[in-house]
Subunit: 318 residues, 2 copies
Amino acid sequence: VSREFELIERHFTREPRGAVLGVGDDAALLRPSADRDLVVTTDTLVEGVHFSADADPEALGHKALAVNLSDLAAMGAQPRWVLLALTLPRADDDWLSRFSRGFMTLADSFEVDLVGGDTTRGPLSICVTALGEVDRGAALRRDGARAGEDVWVSGVIGNAALALLHLKGDVRLKDPDLGKCLARLHTPKPRVALGRCLVGIASSAIDVSDGLVADLGHIAGRSNVRAVVEYSRVPCAPSVVSIKGHDPIRRAILGGGDDYELCFTAPRDRARELEKLSGELGVGLTCIGRTEEGHGVAVSNEDGTPMPIEAAGFDHFR
Amino acid sequence: VSREFELIERHFTREPRGAVLGVGDDAALLRPSADRDLVVTTDTLVEGVHFSADADPEALGHKALAVNLSDLAAMGAQPRWVLLALTLPRADDDWLSRFSRGFMTLADSFEVDLVGGDTTRGPLSICVTALGEVDRGAALRRDGARAGEDVWVSGVIGNAALALLHLKGDVRLKDPDLGKCLARLHTPKPRVALGRCLVGIASSAIDVSDGLVADLGHIAGRSNVRAVVEYSRVPCAPSVVSIKGHDPIRRAILGGGDDYELCFTAPRDRARELEKLSGELGVGLTCIGRTEEGHGVAVSNEDGTPMPIEAAGFDHFR
């Protein structure tokens, strides 16, 4: 822990709730629950790759934590602790104060403790490590799907990519969709409560960060099943429904990523439970397809004909 | 976890020994020991700040992990798991293969599992998060020193800074010291075994990363004691003994940092035990001073007069 860490202490220190020892020693001391598994993930956001130089620091602080909490949500875990390694070109108090507001507000809303980290001088990048807990053996993994199950997504898919298309001038979104799409891009909401409720219901789960087809492909690959998505059932922003079949919109919905919704599989007899859960949490849950014997992901048109997703170049969309 | 993570899978994958689920899902699944505390630390190395563009990738892989294991050692913890977030300007197979060799060889030597991480395109930086375990309540903290104790260091202090001085042409080291100093700078050995043995003996500990005076200052500050170091007792490389009093050498020894030795306090009646431990581990342990009522760090000359360390500008040495 270097001297610059005082910056972190100044802007980020809270009284830790669930840590024996937080910021300020060589390492943090945590006391995990004895009967639960520990879930750990790390993700880095780099200026010029994941965000632009003029990005709003508060939104950036939110997003850097949100993408990591989303990974925990996709495992069905309860977030507990987080570490922040910040690389900054200079110690800018105003920037740090706004960044920390976004970061800590989200952390507080999930009762997550910032327990450590460091700051380093260099090109702006943000590396977050998040730790959570899940009942022993109960984590939602990518390898649990079986043939003959339903494929579900939460919320609305493609909004983050649609916001990018709007900002580039390729489509013109209208409010309230525009606001929702921009919010999804800049301040995504990790589906933590949903993920925890899916434990015991879903057979596999992933968060939609690389794009629906790519992420569902990870489930298919790890589970050794084929996933078939009916494109018309994929929930999207109302203002693009009429142009949902147009190529750039289709690419945004199927390949855009950055939505941080959950995509998961569940046995068919859990459908009623999931509909009930949707109402209780106030989160849309939509069955968009099924799993079968085979491998890979296929997308079908409304008439059942296959949609040529490989040729559409989703792999290089990002 | 992004698609580029395949790079990590290709170069870093091992069968996990102590993890339920390692690389390849949204997060890693770990099962910490029920009766132990979890110790977590994160540290970033940035090109141009912590290493130069032409740094040897294998040494860099070693060092990126070593500095984190050193933080665990300073807590008395047994290293268990590690996550690696790599930001790379491009996917360079040769670089990655050498980097991973350095990283994984050190990880294997401590039976540490790489359980997750990500790769991102951007200016080269390496963010490592290390997790370890220590018996409940037994961690070596910075705040445990009491007045009237001894101050100890392991090994030899200042070697990394002396190597830098040599590379800059400011001093001329001779082998075997030169080799030892360069090795300390490029491939430091975290004092993991020593740290674990100090549990129950030392009252506080820190690793010497910022410089002896600065790091001992953290113990003094957190423990509300004053630490007094007798400069002549600080162990240093044989070839600089005759010029140990010269200003740049003194600055290297007292302010240089990057040694990753342990500095710790212990009650006086533990001295014999520590000498025995030194022999058993083959690691030099030297009592360099004492703690007393007061605050801060003082360094004294051989004749007992105070050495003016503030004016020497140690704070900006790095």
